[in-house]
Symmetry: C2
Subunit: 233 residues, 2 copies
């Protein structure tokens, strides 16, 4: 009666193309968390008060705290977590190089808007995953207390100096633009991830129209986040 | 039958001098954890590999993860955690300013030897605390995975370039010297902490001979840690 499938490995993951896509995705999310840690730890130095510093440092720690479970799953899949992350270091590092915050507020906006965008994107992809991988990815994206703190601080900063609103709005657009450039680069280079979105024999995929709708949703949520901060998008 | 004592507050903490000493101690330990986070996050940038970076970032996160419980207890005692930390920022910041690691190995040695020294010192003080505060302090000092990783890396580094042993040994002595200078400064400035060590009506204290023995124990354990790393002390 028993199928010849490996125990404890979901059926979907026995398809090598699908497995490769999952290894890619978990590698990308893991390295994203590590670089989020680095960036937030760097931003913590710009914090105007010790309270702000502790808040940002706690966010940074929450990011790195998620890496363990992602790496654990990669090992279960027989992949080396560091090899899995390697293909995404270039794009993620470049994103950060090109969006280096000039001050405390730019750092906060980047934490909120940049991470929000990445999380939305991974959540969109998660819809095409087997349930156990999907749960793991979604858990790794749960808001770790960014939202309330950052929104509060940025809004207060704009009230204090409303001339800065225009410059901050431009910053939000730059974050969006850079993220799209790097995401496109990753999609072009990683066949397995692209194939995941295109679907498989037993998995629905995205056609061009569906990809267009996905980007429309991402842009809309980006605009909502900017509005939340009191900024134009 | 019931005493007029506040519920849930150990009897010892109803003595204002003792309470002030505990607030001081928890403030000092909290700020120590926060600055350990900052330093480790900074060291993570020097990591030669992504594996090393993740290991150090995870250590940094473990440090900040302990601040929540310490701050929670400070609030239970009716103290503002940030006010409680304030008196110790000068000494702890100066310690770090005067012991800025020149490279990855100096950072590792500092993480191991410097934190080990601080932990030993707080553990010595913990012996003079009421049981619930003692448990909290000791829990906040538990090794968070530093030991094995750092010892392994530093020993490997010395094998790779044994000429560096002498310079590393000097670095260890500098860490010890700076720690003593700053600890002495804190003891001189904070009467409540000094009084804690001197004892109270119902608490044993340390006389000069006992303080001497305490420093002998701290020095001995420092030497053991240096030896563990393959370095003279």
């Amino acid at each position: 009666m028993a199928a010849s499938s490996l125990p404890d490995v979901p059926l979907a993951l026995q398809d090598p193309d699908y497995r490769n896509a999952v290894v890619d995705l978990l590698g990308a999310v893991s390295y994203g968390e590590i670089s989020a840690f680095e960036r937030l730890a760097e931003d913590a130095k710009l914090a105007p008060t010790l309270q702000d510093k502790v808040a940002i440092a706690t966010m940074a720690s929450a990011q790195i705290g998620k890496v363990g479970a992602l790496h654990g799953r990669l090992r279960e899949l027989g992949a080396d977590p560091f090899a899995a992350m390697a293909p995404f270091r270039g794009a993620i590092d470049l994103f950060h190089e090109h969006t280096h915050p000039a001050d405390w507020f730019e750092g906060l906006i980047k934490a909120y808007v940049g991470d929000g965008l990445a999380d939305d994107f991974y959540r969109e992809i998660a819809a095409y995953l087997d349930p156990s991988t999907r749960d793991l990815v979604v858990a790794s994206l749960e808001d770790t207390g960014h939202a309330a703190f950052v929104v509060d601080r940025v809004r207060a900063g704009i009230v204090a100096d409303h001339r800065l609103g225009g410059r901050r709005a431009l910053w939000g657009r730059r974050l969006m633009g850079e993220a799209l450039i790097q995401a496109q680069r990753v999609a072009a280079e990683r066949d397995a991830l692209a194939a995941l979105l295109a679907g498989g024999v037993d998995r629905p995929g995205l056609d061009l129209a569906a990809i267009g709708r996905m980007f429309a949703r991402l842009t809309e949520r980006h605009a909502e986040r900017m509005a939340e901060l009191g900024l134009d998008s």
